[in-house]
Symmetry: C2
Subunit: 406 residues, 2 copies
């Protein structure tokens, strides 16, 4: 008999029929002898619908009021779900953020969980009642509603699991696990059985959209196992767990890609101390996140500075950089939105040399030109022309043997 926290996302509770089906799944699990705590998102589309209403009211919706508005989405699903469980002859009880309470700081729209008292949830579990917790929402010490930001329900689920000392946190979604790469562009992609928190974090930040990053950080800090699985099948999904020795045998566990970045090059910059700060300070002051940076020395005292920014911020970044280029006497600024980032991730890299070279070899063999490179302990990323994205992903997936059974 285990204590399991199950989180169901928006597509799993998108309508009344699906809510009923999830209720049946939860009850089946409880009847097998496990204690289950359920965390729910809003119905798919509801958060965007409410956001649209807010934008009609105020161009930049007030963040306190926006949290009051958006938190209704989960309030609807937890009450409907509790009714569904009751109609099937079991007992359930909905819990809003303020009722547990899920205590957060007061950073509206991106609040951080600070504490979750467990007495009310534990009391319900002891009585055989299935607690149904609203994801995504919390409450400040002043009693104001907060929300945790996009994907916040994953974080709620992991935090509740940690607070209750659950055996596992199951995240149900519309895919059946974490894949070696995107099956949509690489049909030989395989579901990964076990993956480390560190690898999952790299994958999440590199563009794989299965789990919200903060939930993985939270789980890693407290060693809470996450089971990512499909709400539409009963097949096991992917376990996200602490790194163990067996994982190191696999040099590369996944290939990811992202088309969300753009590249900017400042050409022939006078190479003197402080020049990098002069270029990057105005960009960071505009809240634009710079990812990769490369500096190429040219002949004389001139250098080229190349970096990437989110595609959505490209136009703003270009106009900032063009002004800076004039100020510092650089020759010109060039921008390129048609780039992609392909990456390989694996904890096995830590103890093996030559992984990066092999990646460059594979890309070269397929005539994919590498524009920029960045590495960390457990990943290597290359910026390439966007048109080669699928080719590069497939080549790397095959080249590192990810299409073969583990």
């Amino acid at each position: 008999m285990a204590l399991v926290v199950q989180k169901y996302g928006g597509t799993s509770v998108a309508n009344c029929r699906r809510i009923k089906r999830v209720a049946q799944k939860v009850i089946a699990r409880k009847e097998e002898g496990d204690d289950v705590v359920v965390v729910l998102s809003a119905m798919a589309g509801q958060t965007n619908y409410l956001l649209g209403l807010a934008m009609e009211m105020q161009a930049q919706p007030d963040k306190r009021e926006l949290d009051v508005l958006l938190s209704t989405g989960e309030q609807v699903t937890i009450s409907l779900f509790s009714m569904a469980v009751k109609s099937l002859g079991h007992d359930a009880r909905s819990f809003l953020g303020y009722q547990i309470p899920v205590e957060t700081d007061d950073s509206h729209s991106k609040a951080r969980i600070q504490n979750i008292p467990t007495d009310k949830l534990a009391e319900a579990i002891d009585k055989g009642i299935i607690p149904v917790v609203a994801g995504f929402q919390g409450v400040t010490t002043d009693g104001d509603i907060t929300t945790l930001g996009r994907g916040g329900s994953d974080t709620t689920a992991v935090a509740v699991a940690v607070a209750l000392g659950a055996d596992v946190c199951e995240i149900y979604t519309d895919v059946d696990g974490v894949y070696t790469t995107d099956p949509n562009i690489c049909p030989s992609a395989r579901k990964i059985e076990r993956i480390s928190y560190e690898e999952m974090l790299e994958m999440a930040s590199l563009g794989a959209k299965v789990l919200e990053i903060r939930s993985v950080e939270f789980a890693m800090r407290y060693g809470m196992p996450i089971h990512v699985r499909s709400s539409f099948t009963s097949a096991p999904g992917t376990m996200v767990v602490k790194e163990d020795e067996s994982m190191e045998d696999v040099l590369v566990s996944s290939v990811t890609y992202s088309r969300d970045e753009a590249r900017i090059t400042v050409k022939k910059v006078p190479d003197r101390p402080g020049i990098a700060a002069m270029i990057f300070n105005p960009i960071s002051e505009a809240n634009i996140i710079v990812d990769m940076i490369i500096q190429n020395t040219r002949a004389g005292d001139l250098t080229d500075m190349t970096f990437t920014v989110p595609k959505a911020d490209f136009d703003q970044a270009m106009s900032i950089v063009e002004k800076t280029a004039q100020d510092i006497g650089a020759e010109s600024v060039a921008g390129d939105k048609n780039i992609a980032k392909v990456s390989i991730v694996g904890v096995g890299m830590r103890n093996h040399a030559g992984i990066a070279s092999k990646m460059f070899d594979i890309l070269a063999k397929h005539n994919v030109n590498i524009l920029m490179i960045s590495t960390s302990e457990i990943k290597v990323s290359c910026i390439i022309d966007e048109k080669y994205t699928e080719l590069a992903v497939r080549a790397l997936h095959e080249g590192f043997g990810l299409d073969k059974k583990e």
Copy 2:
């Protein structure tokens, strides 16, 4: 400078455009120098929509969970409204039931307000912030969400006005006041300028659907003036206030009607002690409300028992009564759904004889047969054939001079 509580109903906040218009109205009032507290209903149709979802989940939705669900309707409007006020350069702050808190008992779906602490609302008002209160909802001492039943936002508004010691509670609706009768069937109906709580209570219970009965009772108990007016015009509406001497000059202040009842007659009942209880106990045990009761003695020890029940409960009541009639040896049971109740209301009746006779005369002159009669201190009701409803209402309205200017 006055302190005003303004309540806007579902049609006044039915969409984003209307919410903005209400925000403009509220701000205009504040700029005139009054302090304004706003109480809002859910968008028109939203409560019924949510109720429909609940019924899909559970035939008899769990009442605790239903309150969690339905209370989201007002949560949406108060947050959107607060954004609208802020976008117009003023400050507003939404308050949910649990945040004030609006303390109620734990009768889910029909909770009663027990206390409303005013410190948070008063603090907002002092700072020039417009408090925007969710109508219809409260919270138990255990922190569970409750709702006050249909029309509960009116009660919230009056209770908040009483707690704050406001000068007036303004109820904005889609009609511009209380009328001498229904203008839809009697074009000469006039708007009433002032009416007593008692008359308003009789009118509300007799089918005029302008104000929720409990809100009037609440206002009467604490002497809070209610101003019923249109959210679409700035014209004054109807003041509902304590009875004063001038009101007694008006013998009849309004004519109301209702087609919501049906009549059941148990014929030739053996007339012995306890027979009424035998007929009516099973009906009240089925939660069916009996309104009028008349007993006609026949020859011998037999009597006819006639009474009215809500039309919606007619079929159930008939089958209950038919069973009882067999048990007690009555001859037969007859039912009639084609009836209407027309009533005259006025505090002036208290001190004037002959009002009821005048009503019977007017109906007789128009060949309207009276099937049943019931009276109270300030009203007389007659059950008639449904087909005569419009005729009777117009005849009484003219006969008591309500079509003439006050």
